[in-house]
Symmetry: C2
Subunit: 543 residues, 2 copies
């Protein structure tokens, strides 16, 4: 028997319509590429999103056609989020830090029809546009006064004139909630980039979950600063959750240095900020050097890479709670969030910090498990590690165009490629990437754990741990090290540094000093390149 409830599809247009009706004067503050601050409200964003939809109609864009962006966090980008997806097109946010040849490959693969870009990316767009064969329209995210002259881009228009010609009275179309709404390519450290294509339904369910008290905890009393870019997995879903909750949204544009971020937090009374550790490092350095404080910030969401104990401690000292999160492009991205449970409240501070340093637990909507090499689920003991798998409403079923093989196992679990433990309370701890974990004598060694120790040595600037073949133990760990300028350390001393830190069999067998470790577009070490560089390396076998 079917129920007799109303059945409206979960569509992204309903988010901005809701925000317009129920949080009409809710603020959106943006630092623009032009350098100034811009203020608008949800009412403005809703009206201008409808103009975006009309502009796309006027250009003859069809349902599901892709509209690409190369843009920082700002109100125009936000309007595209709702105008593009809301009208049934697919928003394709591109990471501008990718190498030009990858940008071209991605734009062609996605078959982008329109490219909207911040004028700061003009040189990039000029460099690639002749090879982006599917793009018909170029839109610069500025007004006519700021439109670059003689850009060489065919038919380039300013965003303001593009939407300015359109009336704002547009009726959002109603369609299947499983339709594609947006897409993101994975950074592609191995092989060709692959895209996750999100649906309206997955986006809205994710927006609900992320806003929950044990998620980002977003309410209409909050002022939220996503430092995480809107081109990076939709800024972790914050633009959608902001419309859903009516919180104030503070968008930092290209200004991510410590001073700019701190100023924005103080001036806009930010209560919650979300970003990656490298950005927070800059912020904390600025705060420390100036002996500054946070007067309204009470929590920060940290993801993208693990937050260190020192960073957590520093934030805590400044009155800011750290919410550790884990996810990936394929999980929309939030898979786990590190809010405490009732049982933790009475623990001493250092034990609570230990819980917070893990990557968190599942929000309702995504389940997870770790499996052994036999594919069987491993007990949640916080010790035994295995391959992390997830399943849920905002996890991919397959990649765009079905490429990259079947990412699910036979039971429908997505293989994350991470190695992890889960403890009794459901808290995840990422140990390594599957392809980087070192299998030595039937035991697994976390490459991350080994390189973290090296990086705590005063003479080490950067360290990567990789496994190399060994006749007896299958694989043994070695570390590749970049020394700090002007500092010296011998290989033997560095190996000795592990003595009281890990078991003997986990210590690296060798140290190779290099001038630089290759990094990808998102700052991750490219260990596959390292392995290639060391193709001919032979371990000095002693045992």
């Amino acid at each position: 028997m079917l129920a007799s409830m109303q059945n409206h599809p979960l569509l992204i247009s309903s988010l901005v319509t809701f925000a317009e009706r129920h949080h009409r004067d809710g603020e959106i503050v943006s630092r623009r590429v032009e350098g100034d601050l811009h203020r608008c409200t949800w009412r403005d964003v809703a009206a201008r999103s409808r103009q975006v939809a009309r502009a796309l109609d006027a250009q003859g864009l069809q349902f599901s056609d892709r509209v690409a962006t190369l843009a920082w966090n700002g109100y125009r980008h936000l309007e595209l989020y709702f105008g593009v997806s809301g009208s049934g097109r697919v928003l394709h946010t591109i990471n501008p830090k990718l190498p030009a040849e990858q940008l071209i490959w991605i734009a062609n693969h996605a078959e982008d029809r329109v490219l909207c870009f911040d004028v700061s990316f003009l040189p990039l767009v000029q460099a690639i546009h002749s090879k982006c064969s599917t793009i018909l329209h170029y839109v610069a995210l500025c007004d006519d006064a700021h439109l670059p002259a003689d850009s060489g881009l065919p038919g380039l228009v300013s965003y303001e004139s593009w939407i300015g010609r359109q009336p704002a009275d547009y009726e959002w179309p109603v369609f299947d909630e499983n339709s594609a709404s947006s897409m993101c390519y994975t950074s592609g450290t191995t092989g060709k980039p692959k895209a996750a294509v999100y649906s309206h339904r997955s986006t809205i369910l994710h927006a609900y979950a992320v806003a929950l008290p044990d998620g980002f905890n977003l309410s209409a009393t909050d002022s939220v600063l996503p430092v995480v870019p809107m081109f990076h997995v939709n800024a972790w879903g914050i633009p959608y959750s902001a419309a859903l909750t009516g919180c104030k949204l503070v968008l930092p544009g290209p200004a991510m240095d410590g001073k700019s971020i701190h100023d924005m937090i103080e001036n806009e009374q930010v209560t919650c900020a979300a970003g990656v550790p490298t950005i927070w490092q800059m912020l904390l350095a600025h705060v420390t050097s100036g002996d500054l404080r946070f007067s309204t910030l009470n929590r920060t969401v940290i993801g993208g890479a693990a937050c260190s104990g020192a960073m957590l401690e520093r934030f805590h000292h400044l009155g800011v709670d750290v919410l550790h999160a884990w996810g990936m492009t394929e999980t929309s991205p939030c898979g786990t969030l590190g809010a405490l449970k009732r049982k933790h409240l009475a623990l001493p501070a250092e034990e609570r910090a230990r819980v917070r340093l893990k990557q968190g637990r599942s929000a309702y909507g995504v389940d997870m498990r770790v499996v052994g090499s036999d594919g069987e689920e491993i007990a949640w003991d916080g010790k035994t590690f295995g391959d992390l798998q997830v399943k849920g409403h905002w996890v991919i079923q397959e990649y765009f165009k079905g490429e990259g093989g079947d990412p699910l196992d036979g039971d429908g679990w997505f293989r994350t490629g991470d190695v992890a433990t889960i403890d009794e309370d459901g808290y995840l701890q990422i140990t390594d990437r599957t392809k980087d974990v070192i299998k030595s004598g039937g035991e697994w060694i976390s490459s991350i754990a080994i390189e973290n120790i090296a990086m705590s040595h005063p003479a080490v600037h950067m360290a990567a741990c990789i496994g190399v073949p060994h006749p007896k133990w299958d694989e043994r760990p070695i570390i590749v090290v970049v020394k700090r300028p002007g500092m010296e350390v011998a290989a033997a001393n560095l190996i000795g540094f592990y003595e009281d830190k890990v078991a003997k069999w986990q210590r690296p067998d060798d140290v190779i000093f290099v001038d630089a470790i290759p990094l990808g577009a998102t700052g991750k070490m490219l260990k596959n390149k390292l392995r290639e560089m060391l193709r001919d390396y032979v371990l000095p076998v002693s045992a």
Copy 2:
């Protein structure tokens, strides 16, 4: 283009599965009909829910068959919530305060197959069972030791032996998320009761919304006490949201007096309690008389009827925030919730209280509007009132079996039957019921506003305001009053009492003193009965 995300139906079984995996030792504390306290965990609830599902299988219950309950808030009722709906049957929670003939009518209309009841309701079940023609199985919510002997109920079994025979290894079925999961009959002050039939999808979307920071704000650090009964619109959805968030759940059983509730709040470190004003009145009286405090309670959700300024003030003084909520059986039930916005934080306390005394604003998922007699939307000015309409994921499309006519207007809005205003910030204020509002000379007079003034007179115990025909003004208000024992007041004095409180044309034209005002099963005044009683009444027309 469809997205490439996983597509799992939103099913109630996934809530308890989630709670079992991720909040396995999360506590459920219940005061039992037996008088004692019972403690269990989500792991227990999940396992026993699966036993419920198997017990229903064993009895041959089909998909969508109805399973009725007559039960207080307790863990066994909670297990039925998940076991019945999760296995594809429909949970029909019956209000035990209904008159016997209505209980019979409802059970037959719903075609209930099984009735599970707390032993305290045995006399009621004995009185009605011979006329409930569709019920095949009776289950007493107790163990064999407490099973009533010679009950006269055919095949009566104890719940513990009913599920105790079943193993707990049950695979939850997967089916259409729009399938019926549970149903509630409206109290039926006019005509036959009508039922809202909820879906798995509507229940889960409601559970997400209700748990949001601007909703009940539920996290895994909370201890939540739904005093609102599980037979009353699913305890406002709290059992589902509790599983979704992993909060501790405290279930008061039949003990709703002030002392029992206060003890439970203190002993179980309750942080959030939800209930109707009459219950809170008893709680506050107990707290006041004993000069008691709340050591952990920080908020209370109030719905079902309006919270008075005095009650809000009293709670606030005790360190407890009041979250005012509005909803109805047809809206699952949460339509609006009264959390403040950022702009309100800087207001003086009395102005904030004024916002909190309204019924709140929409959570994302339900939209609302007020319309005039022409069906056109009225401006959100907080003054102009009209008929309240709602639309959304957890609002009914029609009543069970399509009875009771089409409850929607032509654009798909549900006509609530309430008269209300909405202010600039989207806060709803319920003014009256559509059928009770008095239309005098083209203007509307709120019957509730008029009776509230009467009830603030020291000699008045209860007052109802109704409209009576008038040759010139169409209708004029009169008040029907029950005096406090031993108190006297003249009609003229009572009318004079309005002098500085409302405009002259809004004052009642007459006062009729009675011994009692007829009340319905949920304590509401039955104004239609009053109107019937006064059928022959003629207004002393002077103007």
